[in-house]
C-alpha cells in the first residue's frame, strides 16, 4: 500500500518542474552541425583574437580523434553531434552597457525564474551573470565589484579585455585534451563566467551565474574560469534550468578553478536542468568537467553540489591538492527520480605535503532511477601526512531504482591516512516509527529524516542557495514513505 502511494507521489513530482517554459525570442544560430567552420563562426561571433581561434581549432582537431567515454553507468542513444546547433543567441543583443538595453523579454524570463536582474530588486549581496543559451545577457554589480578590484564578467569579454589572465590560466586546470566532452567544450564553448579576485581581496559579495537553455536542438557549452590570487576569497554560485522538451539536449561545460597561496574558492551548484518526464522522455544530458587546482600553499577549494535535474548527469568536480597544506572538499546531494541517471562524484589528488580532503556524498534514488557515486582519492608518494575522510551514503526509495558506489582509494605514502565509509539503505523503519508514534505524519517524518540525511551537505551552501536547495530536496521527498 505504502509502496503504491510512494510511486504515485513520486510520479506527481514530475509535474513540479516549474521552469519548463520557453521564451519566445528571435534567435540567431550557427549553421547546424559541427565542423571547423562552426568553430570559426563562434569565434568570429565573439570577436575573438587569433590565438583564441587557434586554441579552439586545436581542440576541435583533437576531439575529432577522440572516442566518447563509455565507462560511466549511464545509458543513452548515440548522440548525433553533426545534427545539433552549437551556438544560439537572442538577436539584438549587442555588447550591452546597461540593463536598460537588455531585451525586456529576457529580463522577464529571469524574473520568472526567480533571478531578478535589476540591481535594486536583486538579492542583496549577490552579483549575477545571466547566461542565456550561448551568450551572457546581463551581469550585475560589476561596478561595485570593480571597486574592490574583482573582475566578474562573461568569459568572452575577459578574452577581449584581460587576454593575459585568460591566456595564463585557461586550460591550465582542464587541458584541451582532457576528455571527450571537455575537448568538445574547448572547441565550441560560447559563454560562461570569468572571475579574478586579486591578491588579498575578500570578494565583497557572492558571485553567481545563472545558466538558462532556451533554444531547441542546441547544446550549451559554457566555460567558467575562476582565479583566486594570493590570500583572496570568493564564493561562487551556479544555477541552471531549461525548458521541458521531448528532445535531449547536451550541456557540456568546463569549470576551472585556480587557488594560489592562502586563497580560498567556494563553488556551489544547484543543478536543476530539465530532468525529462516521468517516462524518461526528454531532459538534459549534463556532461560536465569541473576541476579545481589548489596551486598555492594553504589554499582551499570547496565544491558543494545539489544535483536534482538532468536526464543524465556525468560530473566529477575534483581537486588537485598541489600546494602544501592545501584543502579540498566535496559535498554532494544527488537526487535521481523516474528514469534519471546520475553518475557523479569527485577526485581528490593529493600531491603536496599535509594536504587534506573531505568527501561527503548523499545519493537518493527513486522511481526507476540509477544513481552512482564514483570517486577517487589518490595519494602520491610525496604527499606526506595527507589525510582524507570520505563518507558516501545512499538512500533508496522503491524497489526498482539503483544506488551504486564505486570508490577508488589509492595510497602511495605510508604517512597518509585515508578513511572511507559507505552505507546503502532505505529509510529506517525505527526512525519512521519513532516520529509517527509522536504524532508526526509519515510524510513529514520522511522529510525530517531525509533532511537529516542531507544536512551535512545543505549546511555547506550559502544562505541564498540553501533555501532553494532545501525546497528542491523537499519536493523530491514528498511521498517517499515506503
Amino acid at each position: 500500500m505504502a509502496a503504491i502511494e510512494t510511486r504515485e507521489k513520486v510520479a506527481a513530482l514530475g509535474e513540479k518542474y516549474k521552469y519548463g517554459f520557453v521564451t519566445d525570442i528571435e534567435m540567431e544560430r550557427a549553421p547546424r552541425g559541427l565542423s571547423e567552420d562552426t568553430v570559426r563562426f563562434i569565434s568570429a561571433k565573439k570577436g575573438e583574437p587569433e590565438w583564441m581561434l587557434e586554441w579552439r581549432l586545436a581542440a576541435y582537431r583533437r576531439w575529432r580523434e577522440m572516442a566518447e567515454p563509455t565507462w560511466a553507468r549511464v545509458h543513452y542513444p548515440k548522440i548525433d553531434y553533426e545534427n545539433a546547433y552549437y551556438y544560439a543567441a537572442p538577436k539584438n543583443t549587442p555588447l550591452k552597457q546597461s540593463l536598460d538595453e537588455v531585451d525586456p523579454k529576457l529580463l522577464e524570463t529571469y524574473k520568472k525564474l526567480g533571478i531578478p536582474l535589476h540591481e535594486q530588486m536583486a538579492l542583496a549581496g549577490v552579483a549575477v551573470d545571466a547566461v542565456f543559451d550561448s551568450v551572457s545577457v546581463a551581469t550585475t554589480f560589476k561596478e561595485k565589484l570593480g571597486e574592490a578590484g574583482v573582475i566578474f564578467c562573461p568569459i568572452s569579454e575577459a578574452i577581449r579585455d584581460y587576454p593575459d589572465l585568460v591566456q595564463k590560466y585557461l586550460g591550465s586546470v582542464v587541458p584541451t585534451s582532457d576528455n571527450f566532452f571537455a575537448t568538445l567544450n574547448s572547441a565550441v564553448f560560447s559563454d560562461g563566467s570569468f572571475v579574478y579576485v586579486p591578491k588579498g581581496v575578500r570578494c565583497p559579495m557572492e558571485l553567481s551565474t545563472y545558466f538558462r537553455i532556451n533554444a531547441s536542438e542546441t547544446g550549451q557549452f559554457e566555460r567558467t574560469l575562476i582565479i583566486a590570487d594570493e590570500g583572496a576569497y570568493v564564493s561562487y554560485l551556479e544555477g541552471c534550468t531549461a525548458p521541458k522538451r521531448d528532445e535531449n539536449q547536451l550541456h557540456a561545460a568546463v569549470v576551472e578553478l585556480v587557488a594560489l597561496d592562502d586563497a580560498e574558492i567556494k563553488y556551489s551548484t544547484v543543478q536543476n536542468w530539465y530532468p525529462g518526464d516521468e517516462d524518461g522522455v526528454g531532459g538534459i544530458y549534463n556532461f560536465v568537467t569541473k576541476r579545481g587546482d589548489c596551486r598555492g600553499r594553504n589554499s582551499k577549494i570547496s565544491w558543494t553540489q545539489v544535483e536534482t535535474g538532468s536526464a543524465i548527469t556525468w560530473k566529477y568536480p575534483s581537486c588537485i591538492l598541489r600546494g602544501d597544506n592545501s584543502v579540498g572538499e566535496f559535498y554532494s546531494i544527488a537526487i535521481a527520480n523516474h528514469f534519471q541517471q546520475a553518475d557523479t562524484g569527485t577526485k581528490m589528488i593529493h600531491l603536496g605535503k599535509n594536504t587534506r580532503s573531505r568527501i561527503i556524498s548523499k545519493g537518493i534514488s527513486a522511481g526507476k532511477a540509477q544513481n552512482t557515486y564514483r570517486g577517487l582519492v589518490s595519494v602520491h608518494p610525496r604527499a606526506e601526512n595527507a589525510r582524507n575522510y570520505t563518507q558516501c551514503d545512499s538512500l533508496l526509495i522503491g524497489g526498482e531504482c539503483g544506488a551504486h558506489t564505486v570508490p577508488y582509494i589509492e595510497s602511495r605514502n605510508k604517512t597518509a591516512r585515508l578513511e572511507h565509509e559507505a552505507t546503502t539503505s532505505k529509510i529506517a523503519e525505527d526512525q519512521l516509527f519513532y516520529c509517527t508514534q509522536r504524532g508526526i505524519d509519515p510524510e513529514e517524518a520522511v522529510a525530517l529524516i531525509v533532511n537529516g540525511f542531507c544536512k551535512e551537505v545543505l549546511q555547506q551552501l550559502p544562505m541564498e542557495f540553501a533555501v532553494e536547495a532545501q525546497k528542491l530536496v523537499g519536493i523530491s521527498l514528498e511521498g517517499s514513505v515506503g
Binding site: I409, E410, R417, L418, T424
Partner: protein, 371 residues
C-alpha cells in the same frame, strides 16, 4: 584432462574462443586496473600444466583425476559451467591437469588437503551435494606463471570452509579464479593468506543464489618488498535473504603493493540482503602502495549494505600508549600490527586452522615490517 571426451572438447573450445576474444588482461581493462598481467607473463609457456597433489582426503570424498578418461556424470554436469572471466576461460581451455572431488549428500566429510606446484594451468572442481560439508585446505606453491581455475558447486544447505594459502615466491606469478555457487541455506567461508608472491591475483565470483545463502571471506596479506597481491571479489546477492561479509587486512612493506577490489551486487528483488565489506591496509614500506576499491551495485531498496576502507600507518596514539608503559617501540609496533591482522585471522573458527594461519603470518611478518 581426458582428451577424448567430446563434451569436454566442446567446453574447452568455447573457453578458448572466449579467451581469444578477450585476450590476456592488462591494466586498461577496468577489472585489471591495478594488476598488469600482460607484461608479467610475457614468454610464459601456455601449454605447461601445474602439478597437483591431494595430501589427505577422507574416504567419504570421491576424487577423480581430470587427466583420466571416463569422467563420472557429476564431473560432466559441472565442470566449466560456472561463470568465467578471461583467465578462467584460459585455465579451462588449457589445463591438462587437475582434479575433481565430490562429497555425497548429507556427509560431513572433514578436510581435503591439497597443493599446487610447478607452473602452468590447472583446474579443480569441488561438488558438495545437499547438506554435505567440507573443509578445503589449499596450498599454492607454484613457481613461475600459474593459472588455476577452481569451481565450487554446492547443493542446498551445504557448507564449505576454504583455507587458501599462497606462499611467498620471488618468481611466482599466481593467477587464481574461484567460481562459487552457494545454494539455498548454504554457506561458503573462505580464509585467504597471501605471503607475497611476485604477483598474485585471486579472483572470486560468488553467487548467492538461494534464500539463506551466505558467504564470509576474510584474508590477510603480509607482503615484503617486491610483492604484489591482488584480491578481487564479486559477490552477487541474486535472491532475497542472503548475507555476505568480507574482512581483509593487509600489511605492505618495502616496495610491495596490496590491492583489494570488491564488488557486491544486489539484484532487483533481492530484498533483505545484508552485506558488509571492510578492507584495511597498513603501509610499512616507504615505497609501498595500497589500492582499495570496495564497490556496491544495488538494485533494490530493502537492503543493508555497508563498506569501509582505510589506509594508513599505525595509530600514533596507540603507539604512544604502549611506549608510555615501557614497551620498546619495535615491540609496540609488532603488537599493534598483530592486533590489526588478528581481527581477520580470528574469523577462522577452527582452532587448528587459525593456529596455522598465525604461524604463516609470523613467518612473513618480519619481511613486511621492512620500511
Amino acid at each position: 584432462m581426458s582428451a577424448s571426451a567430446h563434451w569436454l572438447d566442446e567446453r574447452r573450445a568455447d573457453a578458448a574462443a572466449r579467451f581469444a576474444a578477450a585476450g590476456v588482461p592488462h591494466r586498461r581493462i577496468e577489472d585489471w586496473k591495478y594488476t598488469d598481467l600482460k607484461p608479467a607473463i610475457e614468454g610464459a609457456n601456455d601449454d605447461a600444466a601445474v602439478e597437483w597433489s591431494i595430501r589427505t582426503h577422507p574416504d567419504s570424498v570421491e576424487v577423480f583425476d581430470l587427466a583420466s578418461a571416463d569422467a563420472p556424470g557429476w564431473v560432466r554436469e559441472h565442470l566449466g559451467t560456472l561463470p568465467q572471466n578471461a583467465m578462467a576461460a584460459a585455465s579451462l581451455a588449457r589445463a591438462r591437469r587437475g582434479f575433481a572431488a565430490r562429497v555425497p549428500k548429507g556427509v560431513a566429510a572433514g578436510t581435503v588437503d591439497f597443493e599446487w606446484s610447478g607452473s602452468g594451468s590447472g583446474r579443480a572442481l569441488i561438488v558438495l551435494e545437499e547438506s554435505a560439508s567440507l573443509t578445503l585446505h589449499e596450498n599454492n606453491r607454484t613457481d613461475g606463471f600459474s593459472n588455476i581455475g577452481v569451481e565450487i558447486v554446492t547443493g542446498a544447505n551445504a557448507r564449505v570452509t576454504h583455507l587458501r594459502v599462497a606462499n611467498r615466491g620471488a618468481n611466482a606469478v599466481q593467477v587464481e579464479e574461484y567460481a562459487v555457487a552457494v545454494a539455498q541455506g548454504g554457506a561458503y567461508r573462505a580464509h585467504l593468506f597471501n605471503g607475497g608472491a611476485k604477483l598474485s591475483r585471486a579472483e572470486f565470483q560468488i553467487a548467492l543464489s538461494g534464500a539463506g545463502a551466505s558467504a564470509a571471506l576474510s584474508g590477510v596479506s603480509v607482503l615484503a618488498d617486491g610483492a604484489h597481491a591482488d584480491i578481487t571479489t564479486h559477490i552477487t546477492h541474486a535472491v532475497a535473504n542472503t548475507e555476505s561479509t568480507q574482512l581483509f587486512k593487509k600489511v605492505a612493506g618495502g616496495a610491495s603493493r596490496a590491492i583489494y577490489q570488491g564488488r557486491i551486487a544486489v539484484a532487483e528483488g533481492a530484498v533483505k540482503s545484508d552485506s558488509r565489506q571492510t578492507a584495511k591496509a597498513l603501509l610499512m614500506g616507504s615505497r609501498a602502495e595500497a589500492d582499495l576499491k570496495p564497490e556496491l551495485e544495488i538494485f533494490t531498496d530493502d537492503v543493508k549494505c555497508a563498506h569501509g576502507a582505510a589506509v594508513g600507518d599505525l595509530d600514533l596514539d596507540s603507539l604512544f600508549y604502549l611506549r608510555a608503559r615501557g614497551i620498546p617501540e619495535a615491540e609496540a609496533r609488532n603488537m599493534l600490527v598483530r592486533a590489526f591482522l588478528g581481527e581477520a585471522v580470528d574469523e577462522i573458527a577452527d582452532e587448528a586452522l587459525r593456529g596455522h594461519m598465525w604461524s604463516l603470518v609470523e613467518e612473513a611478518l618480519a619481511g613486511a615490517m621492512q620500511p
